[in-house]
């Protein structure tokens, strides 16, 4: 069965740490980093990257468009 795997890249220095992406993720992939970026904001990162399906929800709600999304189809 074909499965979908996704991945996101967060523009760490542009992230303002609003956490809206975390609530929008249906597979609970994202968390806020303990570290902060140059502006002092905690930034989003993939805590469970293997659960990401590349659904683009996080990038859709991100007010600063800091998320880039990639997706592939995996055939078992």
């Amino acid at each position: 069965m074909a499965k979908v795997r996704g991945a996101i890249v967060v523009d760490v220095e542009r992230c303002k740490g609003c956490e809206l992406c975390i609530g929008s993720c249906p597979t609970d992939v994202l968390r806020m980093a303990v570290d902060v970026n140059g502006k002092g904001y905690h930034y989003a990162y993939m805590e469970n990257p293997e659960a990401c399906t590349g659904c683009v929800n996080c990038a859709t709600v991100c007010p600063d468009t800091v998320i880039t999304v990639y997706r592939i189809k995996v055939v078992d």
Partner: protein, 256 residues
């Protein structure tokens, strides 16, 4: 099944979403979690999809989004407070083949610019008006706006808006939907992925209406102002769902 590494997924050929090229390199000046950024992106994505970036002229308001010209890599004029629909009227009449839109907040469109808005809508100018309603004067420090909800606290109504002395919130979208000049009037929100996708469809339609000379499209977007409301971004979106959407009901009010 072989282990798939992130490097195998993050390749240019697997790209499904990236920031539109119509954004400039400047970071947005809005507070964390502000809906303005999403609406900026939706407008720019719609312009990019229609391929009209060189034929579009935007009109920026006074308010938080006064610096829209810094972020949008298209032609933008910046109007005096509230006068964006009047300026857009002038631009559209001089360049009828261009796509002209205004981007206004509730302080600009529903307070100081009420007359310009209503008359532009009533004349049925062939422009698109995008109205971002967060129920407060965000830029100046969260004062009460005409759109502030009954009972909603702001810095100038600390005990909540009392309708007996301060009047009722102004529903601009319902008001302009009654005017014969408007063609497409809708209210949307951008705090969940599904609503963002719906709002984008409406914004695309607003530009397409201009292409077909169909008349004025008015789209209100109910948004948050977490700084003005003194909440976290996530909390403010919850509050918006529970309170704002009760009064400002989403949907298409007019589509002729």
């Amino acid at each position: 099944m072989a282990e798939i590494k992130l490097e195998d997924i993050i390749k240019p050929e697997n790209l499904v979403f990236q920031k539109t090229k119509l954004f400039t390199d400047k970071p947005l000046s809005y507070c964390p979690g502000c809906g303005h950024g999403v609406v900026h992106r939706l407008i720019l994505e719609a312009i990019e999809e229609l391929g009209i970036e060189s034929e579009t002229i935007g009109v920026a308001p006074v308010g938080c989004s006064v610096l829209a010209y810094e972020f949008m890599n298209i032609d933008i004029a910046q109007a005096p407070h509230g006068r964006a629909p009047a300026l857009a009227t002038g631009i559209k009449r001089v360049y009828p083949e261009k796509f002209v839109f205004t981007y206004q907040g509730d302080g600009d469109l529903a307070a100081i610019g009420t007359a310009e808005t209503i008359h532009a809508c009533n004349r049925g100018e062939n422009i698109s008006i995008f109205f971002i309603n967060n129920g407060i004067y965000g830029m100046t420090g969260g004062q009460m706006a005409p759109t502030t909800l009954p009972g909603m606290a702001s810095s100038t109504s600390p005990y909540g808006r009392d309708v007996a002395s301060m009047g009722h919130p102004l529903k601009m979208t319902e008001l302009v939907a009654n005017l014969p000049g408007t063609r497409f009037v809708a209210r949307h929100a951008v705090h969940t992925p599904a609503l963002v996708r719906k709002a984008k469809k409406a914004i695309l339609k607003a530009f397409e209406n201009q292409k077909e000379n169909k008349g004025l499209s008015f789209i209100e977007i109910v948004s948050n102002c977490n700084s003005g409301w003194k909440m976290t971004p996530v909390k403010s979106n919850q509050w918006l769902t529970e309170n704002m959407l009760e009064y400002y009901k989403l949907g298409t009010l007019k589509d002729e």
